[in-house]
Homo-oligomer: 328 residues x 2
């Protein structure tokens, strides 16, 4: 019998989860839940119904894992603990500073309900975190570096959209090749924020807007842009739609370290993602971990978990024998 | 109290494990065990004694994890099940076809003795296997590629040394850049053995040996060289010592796959190792997993395990709180 999945939230991530479910034979999408009017939501998977989020209360026995596809700012801190009481849940919470608090809230609720609650799943946090952990355990004496991009940062794009006179923006985060090469050399460079990444903005402005002012406001925006070298291009809405409609992303996690009684040998561990679609890849990671949530709960485990707590074999539909025979 | 480690076998890997233990504050090397005469073995770590392997029988209470550093051909198939009865053990068994049998033997012995027996730990099998597994679970529709090198293959070096007239050999396995680039493009190339790697041999021959015959015997050796483009260089013993005394290695595990309801988005997951010292890096992986063996056994688990079965957090000396705060 297939693992029955519910999706809460049908934005980019929800659709990414939906397409990932379609690629996994042991999974079945039983419904998409939304705060909007369900009639207004068209689900792409044939035969799957959109429900109002309030209908979840009556679906406790029909859903093995509920995948929460809301945002980290306000949705997930509230939703994940609430729904962990009634469902195995998984989210992609990525507000780093609030992870301890979120973990504690989900842990209490999931234990109370007898469920598993996986938080902060995706690629960063998620696969990048895993690679940082493995590499740190293998090379205890070394340095960590994370580079992001080239890819679209939704947070930075949104920040620019809030500027007066801006109609739309797509912001690309671009890693600096020279910085990555310096890291790979094992020279342990200390890199400033400006040396690691550049930022490139494609902006559609209102007709007659003061482009010089917009460009200046972008480049000097604290936290988002002030510490980076930023390039701003003003384009038309047609160009935006034609050339910047995708959500590619990716990045590199690199750890360099030494071994040997005299620390005489250098090593470089590098993990690299090149992604055409950030939300579909994130959804694919989440769906694999949804399988783990289901299985761990079947084995009697409860409480909050992260990618650190989950044995890799739990993610696979294959048996231990098959995995050892074909992938070890 | 530190985790007390014993090493069985003091070749390249045993020494690599030794130096890794010195880099982990929560680990203590309590003894090196050897089939040689212990008096003939000089242990590099101050204060550590060499014992005969037969002395292990009296050390059951002094060792938390015994790390087996013998070879896969004859040592480990015998040793790992035998010692799993009395110790938590870990090995780097890498004879792929015999893993199911070895796993079963170690599982039975470890369960009988109430211990954990981790097999096939290192980087391949080991970290490369893990990356194949994670990437397959995330991208169920895709292709796997593993490239090795540039690095020294001990098996191929040994095979050349067995040729009449050869005094010494160092064989480098070299991945073909064009093949890796084709893979990274997402074009899913079908690559022959010859297209993926080349082989380069540095050979010291006996004085007066027939070099043309040696070169021909190397290039036509079945399984080892016949399917590859191989280059042979004859060098002096002085050059061998000066330029080829290290044991570098590494490689790339790449999975490419598609997502989207119409499979319209490509993704590339790549894991790359660049290692100055193959045995020290392998030893470093094994020592991290020795920590996991100790902890899993403390939690009441027994039986054979591989890297697939072990939650990543088990490898780290840090607490779950610390890991979530700093690496997630």
């Amino acid at each position: 019998m297939a693992i029955r999945i519910g999706i809460l939230g049908y934005g980019n991530l929800g659709r990414g989860v939906e397409s990932a479910i379609a690629q996994n034979d042991d999974m079945e999408l039983v419904g998409v839940f939304t705060r909007r009017s369900p009639e207004s939501v068209e689900i792409r998977t044939p035969g799957v119904t959109a429900y109002h989020v309030d209908d979840l209360a009556s679906k406790k026995d029909d859903i093995d894992v509920l995948i929460l596809c809301g945002g980290s700012a306000t949705d997930l801190p509230e939703q994940t603990p609430v729904f962990a009481k009634d469902f195995n849940v998984i989210d992609s919470f990525d507000t780093h500073a609030r992870i301890p608090e979120h973990f504690a809230n989900v842990d209490a609720a999931a234990k109370e309900g007898g469920h598993i609650g996986i938080i902060s799943c995706g690629w960063d946090p998620g696969m990048f975190s895993l690679n940082r952990l493995y590499a740190n355990c293998i090379l205890p004496e070394g340095s960590d570096y994370t580079f992001w991009g080239k890819g679209v940062s939704q947070g930075h794009s949104d920040a620019v959209r809030r500027i007066d006179g801006v109609v739309d923006c797509r912001q690309y985060t671009i890693p600096v090749d020279a910085a990555m090469d310096a890291v790979r050399s094992g020279s342990n460079p200390e890199l400033t924020t400006r040396e690691k990444h550049t930022r490139e903005c494609f902006v559609v402005a209102e007709e007659g807007a003061d482009l010089a002012r917009i460009e200046s406001e972008i480049k000097n925006m604290p936290n988002y842009f002030a510490d980076y070298d930023t390039t701003v291009h003003f384009i038309t809405m047609e160009e935006m739609k034609a050339n910047h409609s995708g959500l590619p992303h990716g990045g590199n996690v690199i750890r360099t370290g030494v071994t040997g009684l005299d620390k005489e040998h250098k090593h470089v561990i590098e993990y690299k993602l090149t992604l055409d679609s950030n939300p579909e890849f994130t959804g694919s990671v989440i769906v694999a971990y949804a399988r783990a949530a289901y299985r761990m709960n079947k084995e009697g485990m409860t409480g909050a978990k992260t990618v650190f707590d989950i044995a890799p074999a739990m993610l696979s539909p294959k048996s231990g024998e098959e995995l050892r025979a074909h992938l070890l």
